[in-house]
Symmetry: C3
Subunit: 213 residues, 3 copies
Amino acid sequence: MNGFDQIMPVVDLAAAVVFATTGALVASRKEMDILGFLWLGAITGVGGGTVRDLLLGLPVFWVANPAPMALCLLAAGLVHFTAHLVASRYRVLLWLDAVGMALVTVAGTAKATDAGAGPLIAVVMGVVTASVGGIIRDVLGQEPSIVLRREIYVTASAAGAAVFIAAHAVDVPQPMAMALGAVTAFAIRGLAIALDWSLPVYRPRPGRNPDDI
Amino acid sequence: MNGFDQIMPVVDLAAAVVFATTGALVASRKEMDILGFLWLGAITGVGGGTVRDLLLGLPVFWVANPAPMALCLLAAGLVHFTAHLVASRYRVLLWLDAVGMALVTVAGTAKATDAGAGPLIAVVMGVVTASVGGIIRDVLGQEPSIVLRREIYVTASAAGAAVFIAAHAVDVPQPMAMALGAVTAFAIRGLAIALDWSLPVYRPRPGRNPDDI
Amino acid sequence: MNGFDQIMPVVDLAAAVVFATTGALVASRKEMDILGFLWLGAITGVGGGTVRDLLLGLPVFWVANPAPMALCLLAAGLVHFTAHLVASRYRVLLWLDAVGMALVTVAGTAKATDAGAGPLIAVVMGVVTASVGGIIRDVLGQEPSIVLRREIYVTASAAGAAVFIAAHAVDVPQPMAMALGAVTAFAIRGLAIALDWSLPVYRPRPGRNPDDI
């Protein structure tokens, strides 16, 4: 094939681990037990891909193959014993999370395209894969939801997915189209992090007033 | 057939657009970015029907056919630029929302019946279709959930679904049964709006104490 | 067969009713209408099993067979009229809930094993079945989520599921393995209730700080 079938599981795994780490960090802020870390880490890690697969009518990716779940639990457990180290390296995590978001956006979009979805639905699936885990994490952790504050997150994901779809439509080979989409998503998210010197994940800031734009 | 297959997509579309508008109005209250409007509008618009389809084991209605998602995003984007106008016409929206609820209740109930569900489960599916989108909207928007405040909403939906099922059971033709159910749901909800002169969506009010009834 | 097919529906039913009762008790604390009781009772009662079935790609258990939904609605409606009695017997309910958790954990784990899931995923499904209903209840009722406070709950469920899987792996007959798992889950949860003389469900307490362990 085009190598997609080999890349996809690795991307899903890497993104799940990164997202699980962010879930476990929220658990550490809430002073939860180790089982709470595992729960919140696992649901954050696999939540987005799970909803994507259910919507597309595909088997849920971590039920047939337990590796993503195992790695999410391992990552969350590790954070339980090292949260004080990771928390002080929060900025590193923000960037890791941006990498995870970029990878999972194009992987989710590509999986939707392969399942026969049209361009709009494929972009929606990319955004769902990238954002639903974080949304569940924030609702369960009683933090302001990702859609209420990290707007540039969803924006970056949607832009990356759209670039992938556009490149795919003009017959750019899939690995190149995926790279273009991921770089776009990561660049927008990275600029948002770099230009906003606060830490947007844990400090809610008001979005722009629609009348100001 | 009986015309149901022609009516259903139109009802789903109309209801999705109305619900997406309510989601976008919550986004405007939270001063979100345009992507936040699109996210909250889309999930509010298609959430109820999505959960219904997943529970029934059917393909999710907006994955195969992108029109509902496209219209939800369009409506939410329009609200982004016109929220100040719509907000001042909030009462109009309440009534539109009541129309959407009435339509989608009977459509959801009928779809469940067609999928082989018995009467109880069909009524549950009607209520799920009418209420889950709003529940997700309120949880993500950190507003008091619809089940905590708009009790007459769920009541109206359940009554409309039950009337449709009862009419269907005594061999009333399906379009007539759907009309009876929708009118019932709309009438109960409309009376609730008309007799309660506050704006129940955005101002939580305590339900009746169970001991008082 | 091994009798599993006969036990399973009864266990699902019993657990659904117990969980529905806890959902309705939250509704009573929030002074909801009877429809609110039914909604919250039903979603709490069937939520965990529903998510388990969707993840496993199986038909949702209460859609084909309406008995669990009917009993959940009945239980929630009964609580509506008797909440003042039940609330004063809250400690009894805590123990009933522990029984429900123990039963549904092994039933969920066994159902996942039967569907071909490996040991890790089967344990996850047991925990999902036991905890997701309560999580949805707490999110909708705007109470601190179960993963934020009742840590011993998830721990007990995970331990019971693991014991069942381990016993199954060394060829203990399934009914005996299920009994071992359920007793383990119940014993751990029971000790947590007995040794913690507060009422952990309605009073959030901070988890242990990860640095203290």
